[in-house]
């Protein structure tokens, strides 16, 4: 066919023509516009509507943003500056308020000489999280740890405190020791993840260091009891024995030991930090304290509840289901009110403790129910074969859970856990309704109650909203990244 054609044709092109530029409508920006914005009547209308919306919003808000004032001592002064610069009747934002009250939004009424403590706790949190989130060494992790170290040094130098450096040196020393015993990086930091809660408690509330030390000692007592008793009486009774031992330690020994040690060490810095009362907590320090302790404590509770819900034992299952459904069925606000109004009714007469701790307890119960559901999802997503394989290997229930099921189920659940943490973190703003100073409404109202800043509405909302957005958005991106990574691994 082609031969025939070649013969019959008078002229056959033997060189390629240089490609023509595509028509103007099909190239460059115009093509992009045509394809992405005006590909049909409906799309064109949508585009125009979208543009109009943007224009309207900009017209509404842009002058206000552009007229913003950063230097003023009161709202009245702000308005004068705006009127002087942009003419009478111009509107503008008064960011000067944030400049002046910045510390209050971040720390509430935390004593300003002690600001380094919550900052240090936050920095150390990253170290404590490293072995939980990463299981192998990477350049990124190394960089992050280095950054944390440099920041701690800077904090130390800036505040003239040597305690942060001391803590860092101790961490490095113990980690190196654990590393030399054969645990590789970052798994040799795991001990610090376990110690961190006590350390953070001490840094945030202050007082004597022996209280958290003695509380941690209870776990060691329990661990030793377990180690000793297991070969003698078997795992289950040994576990009960260990719990009892730890309990006895806390109930009888910890208090006197703390007092004695505190009296010995006196009120000197490595053993004593200035005590900070819970009512001085506020702003983002409060939000982080409640959110992080809530999620950390609720994780093990959630695992237990999820396992209980899947259990074959009818009674255990019923209790777990009842608890989860009850907590998920009522709004967080009612639980917070319970913390502030009712919890005292259910504790021995005269018991009375801190409202922040009460709120943390309720928030923990709340988030445990949600985490339990997330983990149940993870357990359900695990192929049935994994359970059967564990059984076939002859592992008992706890061994199977610990070695086969949980590592996989938790990995699948991480994105869900992160998103319940985001939800919990956002919900910490509700503590304002039990008269705690959350950053969104508590601090904002306190600022507005002062004579200088009376009548300021949008600026604090925008500022606090922006901070929440940055934190939550980056966490949700991180969880998406994890999800993609997990998907790849499961392929």
């Amino acid at each position: 066919m082609s031969d025939l054609h070649a013969h019959s044709a008078r002229y056959v092109r033997d060189s390629m023509l240089p490609p023509e530029a595509p028509p103007a409508l099909e190239s460059g920006a115009i093509k992009w516009l045509r394809e992405n914005l005006f590909s049909g009547l409906l799309n064109s209308i949508l585009t125009v509507l979208g543009l109009l919306t943007i224009a309207y919003l900009l017209k509404l808000a842009l002058p206000w943003f552009l007229h913003g004032v950063w230097n003023a001592n009161s709202l009245g002064e702000c308005r004068q500056v705006i009127a002087a610069n942009w003419g009478e009747g111009a509107h503008g934002a008064c960011w000067a308020m944030i400049r002046e009250r910045w510390n209050q939004f971040l720390f509430g009424f935390y004593p300003s000489s002690e600001y380094w403590r919550p900052i240090l706790a936050l920095l150390l949190l990253f170290l404590a999280l490293a072995p939980v989130l990463f299981d192998e060494m990477s350049k990124k992790l190394m960089g992050a740890v280095a950054v944390v170290g440099v920041l701690v040094l800077w904090l130390s130098a800036y505040n003239g405190q040597w305690l942060p450096v001391g803590i860092l040196v101790i961490i490095a020393g113990v980690t190196a020791f654990v590393g030399s015993r054969g645990r590789h990086w970052p798994q040799n930091l795991m001990w610090f993840s376990l110690v961190f809660p006590a350390l953070a408690f001490w840094l945030l509330w202050g007082g004597t260091i022996w209280l958290p030390v003695m509380v941690m000692a209870g776990f060691i007592v329990g661990g030793i009891a377990l180690r000793i008793a297991t070969p003698m009486i078997g795992l289950m009774p040994a576990l009960a024995f260990a719990v009892l031992a730890a309990f006895f330690w806390w109930y009888f020994a910890a208090g006197p030991a703390t007092d004695a040690l505190a009296a010995m060490s006196g009120r000197n810095q490595p053993f004593w930090l200035r005590r900070v009362n819970s009512d001085e907590f506020g702003g983002f320090v409060l939000a982080f304290t409640i959110g992080l302790s809530g999620i950390a404590i609720s994780l093990p509770m959630g695992i237990v509840l999820a396992l209980g819900r899947q259990s074959d034992m009818l009674l255990v299952k019923a209790l777990c289901v009842g608890f989860i459904e009850f907590i998920r069925g009522v709004p967080l606000i009612t639980l917070l009110f319970t913390a502030s109004l009712l919890l005292n009714y259910f504790l021995p007469p005269g018991t009375n403790f801190d409202i922040i701790l009460r709120v943390i307890i309720m928030v923990t119960l709340f988030s445990a129910a949600y985490i339990a559901e997330v983990i149940r999802g993870g357990l359900a997503a695990l192929p049935r074969g994994q359970y059967e394989a564990a059984d076939a290997l002859g592992l008992d229930y706890w061994k199977a859970q610990r070695l086969i099921v949980m590592p996989q189920a938790l990995k699948i659940s991480i994105p869900g856990i992160v998103s319940s943490f985001i939800g919990l973190f956002k919900d910490t703003t509700l503590v304002v309704f039990v008269a705690l100073l959350d950053p969104l409404k508590g601090i904002t109202d306190a600022v507005r109650a002062s004579i200088q800043w009376k009548g300021i509405y949008w600026e604090p909302y925008i500022f606090v909203g922006a901070i929440f957005f940055i934190i939550c958005f980056s966490m949700s991106r991180y969880s998406m990244f994890l999800e993609n990574k997990l998907k790849r691994e499961h392929r």
């Binding site: 209050q104 941690m216 209870g218 404590i297 009375n352 409202i355 109202d445």
Partner: protein, 338 residues
């Protein structure tokens, strides 16, 4: 792994938990700190400044009690309470004393089981409206929209007032004074009702106070005072007589400036008894002789506290009115110190 956190917190909590016994005085002394329930923020009565130091008329009562009991007016832990949480906080022993402009009513005294130790401010519920509304009496408010703070006696008074006068109204409930101001200034309600002192405090810090008037009708009696739990009479006595000492000090001309000097002895036996130079009244309520001296020295006598926090020279600018001494036509009248 993080199980440690949970148990640790529980244990820490158990260690931190205080056990309140029947004698509040012993608890306070053992703790070395008075826990005082105050408003979450009402300018002039109780509000934290930028450094978190609480100041105001109600706060001064807490300071005086702390000074009398512990000898140091700064040994007070302030617990901000809302209209909803205040009574529970007191009943559960979370706070030792509630000084949060709380109205003394029959049911709060008898049914909620509290003891009001006196009145530190005689108040009444009033209305504030814009001048250009053209209203000069609360009786003309038929059909109006009224902003009202919830969780207080004011909403019941308001309902009663409109019912008695055969008028209708549209309530706009609000939670805090700050919200109420915002709503009122934005025009979301025609009238703002709360205690007259609160109205004055609110109006004082408007940009244009002259455009707002407080209507002459006072529709309720609101004796505001500090309160304690039923059942601990010694503690109630301490709070009651500390308040009385502040009021009596004004009557006898004892001020924070001259209290040290007068405590050396005067020719007025009543002052001598109060300040502990004669007899030992303090021992009768479980305190030492100088209790009243310290209470007065903490932030001055009643008149000084009033002038410094809500008086005419402050932005709030309240006149003494009913809260003047009985010798000056007011209602302040303390029983004798003997």
């Amino acid at each position: 792994m993080k199980k440690s956190v949970f148990l640790g917190t529980l244990a820490a909590t158990a260690l931190l938990a205080g056990f309140a016994s029947a004698a509040t005085l012993d608890d306070v002394k053992a703790r070395g700190e008075l826990v005082c329930g105050v408003n979450t923020g009402l300018v002039g009565f109780a509000a934290p400044d930028a450094n978190g130091n609480w100041q105001g008329f109600d706060v001064a009562v807490c300071k005086a009690v702390a000074a009398a009991v512990l000898g140091d007016a700064s040994k007070v832990k302030y617990v901000p309470t809302t209209g909803e949480t205040r009574f529970t906080a007191l009943a559960s022993g979370e706070i030792d004393l509630l000084a949060r402009n709380t109205t003394w009513t029959f049911s709060r005294d008898a049914d909620l089981k509290f003891t009001f130790v006196g009145v530190n401010y005689y108040d009444g519920q009033g209305f504030m409206v814009r001048k250009d509304l053209g209203v000069s009496s609360a009786k003309e408010l038929d059909g109006a929209t009224v902003c009202i703070q919830t969780g207080t006696t004011t909403e019941l008074n308001l309902a009663d007032f409109f019912k008695v006068n055969n008028m209708t109204y549209q309530p706009v409930p609000i939670n805090t004074n700050a919200e109420g101001e915002q709503q009122y200034l934005a025009g979301a309600c025609d009238a703002y009702t709360t205690d007259a002192s609160g109205l004055a405090a609110t109006r004082a810090i408007f940009a244009d106070p002259e455009n707002h008037i407080i209507l002459p009708e006072i529709i309720s009696k609101e004796p505001l005072g500090p309160l304690v739990r039923h059942g601990d009479d010694q503690w109630a006595d301490i709070a009651r007589w500390t308040l009385n000492a502040l009021i009596a000090a004004e009557e006898y001309g004892v001020t924070s400036a001259n209290v040290e000097e007068l405590a050396k002895g005067t020719n007025n036996p009543e002052i001598n008894r109060m300040l502990g130079t004669e007899g030992d009244l303090g021992a009768m309520i479980g305190l030492d002789k100088d209790w009243a001296k310290r209470a007065i020295a903490a932030s001055g006598n009643y008149g000084e506290i009033f002038a410094a926090s809500i008086g005419e020279s402050t932005p709030i600018g309240l006149a003494r009115g009913l809260n003047a001494q009985w010798t000056q036509g007011g209602l302040l009248y303390t029983p004798p110190f003997r």
